[in-house]
Symmetry: C2
DNA sequence: GTGGGCTATTGAACAGGCGTCAATAGCCTG
DNA sequence: CAGGCTATTGACGCCTGTTCAATAGCCCAC
């Protein structure tokens, strides 16, 4: 009755478990992704998971890291040289991702706030990568034209803007409240522009 | 050896457990606030906790609700009639609260993202109350002077600004990066002003 | 083709935290 | 000071994470 045990190469097995983890995360929060659930879904014993990932924490971290990689890959900005157009396009891609992966994205954000410092770092670096590439890949000198200066204060405010985007987008996806999609995107990019042009100069 | 059991009135006992819960929350995240820990700290049996709060969820919710009430009470705005001054004072009080209750405030924010809808609602309504009172208590007509119109889109963006404030303030408290306290407060209130004056009109 | 070894895989056992409930014992009232 | 109401207990069952010695699939040498 019981399925005969199947022996796979470590790489294959690890990949299978990681992919399955991300897939299951799209339907439930991280805390509901138990060892039991994954083992049963993968058709393996609980013990095997501990062979590949030291413990539940490590497994969860690996799954979240994989999920952020997916997010990053699926939201590449356009190659428009205008930074504003790049920002707009990137925001559009980001919103699209959230629209089609609402549950998975919620699980991701929640994981970032779960209290585990490593988890937070994983998400924080993903978020940094998302915003950085909008500007870093732009032609040098464009920012200076607008009087934007790269200071710790500016970086802090931009990270704050990211948090705002997360919140607004998640709320809008839940219930748009009659707000037009494009108007939302415009407001968010305009907010960033304003924030950047008026950030305080560091002491 | 064992302490003789002490019989208190339900109200007294409940109050004691709630206060103790908030106190313990200031030193650890919510998920570490186990039944065992609280029972031992309070000098009671685990069973008694289930008599007062149906289960761990309910207990956690009650503790978080109490914590948000404390936050609200400790950050009352000044009675300045000028809405900008009121906002500034309120932000100042809020930052002060976070500075002196960093751990507890972190636990609070994390709880809000924990996935429990009730928890989220508790925190969301506290956040709404914090921002609403800045404007609701202002003299009527001031907002209109600045062309600010109360629309779903505006409310959404203001809630987004709250998320930004949370993020920025927590990051700044962790590591100021040489950013001046007053400059931070100014940037945040200025950001709100800009966001409010340029929010899209709902279709 | 086959026997043997490397190691992927298992499952039973342990730990610790949540939740239940019949039994116990403070405190108040007459 | 006796009796009752009910606040309080503690032992029990269950579920989930974690360990580890035993098992068995796959590949290679012959």
């Amino acid at each position: 009755m019981t399925t005969p045990r199947i022996r796979l190469s470590p790489d294959t097995r690890r990949e299978q478990l990681l992919d399955l983890g991300v897939k299951l995360l799209a339907t439930r929060p991280l805390e509901k992704l138990s060892i039991d659930l994954l083992a049963e879904a993968a058709g393996i014993s609980r013990g095997l998971l501990y062979h590949y990932f030291g413990n539940k924490q490590d497994f969860h971290e690996a799954v979240v890291r994989r999920a952020t990689e997916d997010l990053f890959a699926l939201t590449a900005p356009t190659d428009d040289p205008d930074p504003l157009a790049r920002l707009s396009g990137s925001l559009d891609g980001y919103l699209g991702f959230v629209e089609t992966n609402r549950q998975g994205y919620q699980s991701l954000v929640r994981a970032a706030y779960s209290g585990n410092p490593t988890m937070r770092e994983i998400y924080e670096s993903a978020r940094a990568a998302l915003t950085d590439r909008i500007f870093d890949e732009a032609e040098p000198g464009v920012l200076e034209e607008f009087g934007i200066e790269d200071t710790p204060a500016l970086r802090l405010m931009v990270r704050g803007w990211s948090a705002m985007v997360e919140h607004v987008v998640l709320a809008w996806v839940e219930d748009s409240g009659g707000i037009d999609r494009q108007a939302l995107l415009d407001s968010l990019s305009q907010a960033l522009f304003q924030i950047m042009t008026t950030a305080p100069k560091a002491d």
